[in-house]
Amino acid sequence: MAGSVERDRAALNRLPRWLVPALAVLPAIGLAVFYLWPLLTLLQRVVQPGSIGHALSAPGVARVLWFTLWQALASTALTLAVGFAPAYVLARYRFPGRRALLAAVTVPFMLPTVVVGAAFLALLPQSWHGTARAVIVAHVFFNVAVVVRLVGAMWAVLPTDLTAAARTLGASPAQVLRHVVLPLLRPALWAAATVVFLFTFTSFGAARLLGGAANPTLEVEIARRATQLGDVDGAAVLSVLQLLVLAVVVWWSARWQRRAAVQFAGVGAPRRSRSRAERRWVPTVAAATAVAMLTPLAVLISRSLRLGGRWSLAAWRTLGSAEVRPGISLGVDPLASLVTSFRLAAVATVLSVAIGGLAALAIVSAHRHGRLLDVGLMLPLGTSAVTIGLGMLITFDTAPFDWRAAWWLIPAGHALVATPFVVRALLPVLRSIPADQRAAAATLGASPLRAWLAVDVRRVMRPLVAAAGLAAAISLGEFGATTFLTRSGRETMPIAIARLLGRTGQVPRAQGFALASILLVATAAVVMVASVLGERGGASDA
């Protein structure tokens, strides 16, 4: 047990005694009411006699399971293969535009899945729409960042002399890769593969837009059963089945990662490209990566400007009108959805920052029980958005807990998904605050509470802003849970985009692409501003 940590805890425990449990109350209640209760309701639906047999014997369920599994495996394998070269180049070389490229690779990962789906609808030829390969291509695009980040982080510290040693022993570059690099990167490869598998196995937005009715993933099928067939029990069974699969994958992967872990010393920094061959292919990989990451987004925006084979602003001009034909409104008002989305995102951000902030403080201050809250708040991350939405829909439907029409139910769902990120962003900072600073404030005569305010709050402000940006981006793009909780006439942007792109008419489709472009820019802007503010904070503290 590290002494400094103990000192920090001691210092934080100088906060008034009653405060620690008080801090934990709100996050704990939120978790219990909006996560555990819906989950138990789902389980209760599943254990009803006949429920499981009915759901699993429905036509096509086996096929949906099989498709979900194989497309996730294929997406994972392809993502690893495609992400390998950019991960290497970004981890090992320093070149002009490296940071911009890193951002370009990371941005798609932060984008709403509906936007990625829309971008590939715009990019891929008609014959690809509604096919498995369209879903897989979008998944690869979306998840390359995971490989670049996780594998790249490990690759960056892999000693270069280790591969040099292999070369002098007569290993060709391919043999070096196979016998030295890959085995040493295995833990990172496993971690990346697991994360990509989990994301693609529970894919909803992109899968729904691109896979069509012919290729539903489990998530899409759960939503279809519940919202189109009204078969809530069947949807609940599939939800719980999915939860089980996810749990098994996480457990199995954690075991493998432990086994694959290899210690190695040494820290390599990115170096400049040196040999003539390297000078040629490093820029090639970098340029190809940049083009691959930016093309779908550029095509998305350009498609919103095209009607009938010509350039036109019509879709953007009619964005404020709800009508798809005179008198017929479809119930989707793109501009109104924009307002709705931003308003809900503001509420979700405030909720998740407040709850996440309280939770992080409670976790750092309390000893054993803090760990419980920590794990508890991470659970929603391992639960698919569709499961969360379905659970909330069937739980809060009886008075006095009938909250289906409550305006705050959607932001509450979004906050559930976003809070873990806020907690993750704050914990390291809170844990690193030196006790001396607080002690100094206290010796100057400040009460513990004021000392805490003076020192901790200021420190935490910037990471808090970064976390808030992340929460806002998550809320803006949330689609799975919202699908269940949305109310007619109060659609969010992702819902409106999916509805507009579900049509075949030129104007509504162009409007869908236009709205997706807005969501793309809004999300990217929120994430970038937040990360710039957050980084500046980190720099000034260092």
């Binding site: 000693p159 002399d161 280790l162 040099a164 040693a165 292999a166 070369r167 002098t168 022993l169 007569g170 290993a171 060709s172 570059p173 043999q175 016998h179 030295v180 085995p183 040493l184 290899v262 210690q263 190695f264 040494g266 040196r274 040999s275 003539r276």
Partner: protein, 205 residues
């Protein structure tokens, strides 16, 4: 015979090596002496093929190998901090070079045993490299480089980081070993005593 002719290496504006030449005769052990930062290690890397020089050429037994990739030069190298493969056992580390040449398993195993015997670590084949002591790791690194029978062995400060007593013992062992295996070797060091003890000839850079 190994020959480096007029090797020039620039890092940005800085000239690390400026028309440096050197030769090592067959079976000869040459020590390259000099303070740190004069490009001793850089010269080794150029000879090994790990670094492309800005000028000059490298010759081995009368053949120009300047553009030959590192793995085809049959020049072995012992690194300053061993660079043992952490995911492989001692035996697999030593046998690595032979396995890359797709030598039969039995032959590899025999050669590994032979070399571990030679460096004074018999029966170490099954050990994990991460659990070796400093001196043991250096011996394994030496065995690994010798296993594929390189035409030339480059040693980059192979005995640094050891306490005096161990250092001296290893230096004696290394000198004897290079003679016993009739290895052509180029040793980089900043230690005069070490150079004199191991090498036939000392070159100062």
């Amino acid at each position: 015979m190994l020959e480096a002719r007029d090797i020039t290496v620039r890092f940005g504006d800085r000239r690390v090596l400026d028309s440096t030449s050197l030769h090592v005769g067959d079976g000869e052990v040459v020590a390259l002496l000099g303070p740190s930062g004069v490009g001793k290690s850089t010269l080794l890397r150029v000879i090994a093929g790990l670094l492309t020089a800005d000028g000059g050429s490298v010759w081995l037994d009368g053949t120009d190998i300047t553009v030959l990739p590192a793995h085809r030069r049959s020049i072995g190298m012992v690194f300053q901090d061993e660079q043992l493969f952490p995911h492989l056992s001692v035996g697999a580390n030593v046998g690595f070079g032979l396995r890359m040449q797709r030598v039969a398993h039995g032959v590899v195993a025999a050669r590994v045993a032979e070399l571990l015997e030679l460096v004074g670590l018999p029966g170490f084949a099954g050990r994990q490299v991460t659990k070796l002591s400093g001196g043991e790791a250096k011996r394994v690194a030496l065995a690994r480089s010798l296993a594929p029978r390189p035409k030339v062995l480059l040693l980059d400060e192979p005995l640094t980081g050891l306490d005096r007593e161990l250092h001296d013992r290893l230096a004696t062992d290394l000198a004897a070993l290079l003679r016993a295996t009739d290895t052509t070797a180029l040793l980089v060091t900043h230690d005069h005593e070490e150079a004199a003890k191991i090498a036939d000839r000392v070159v100062t850079l």
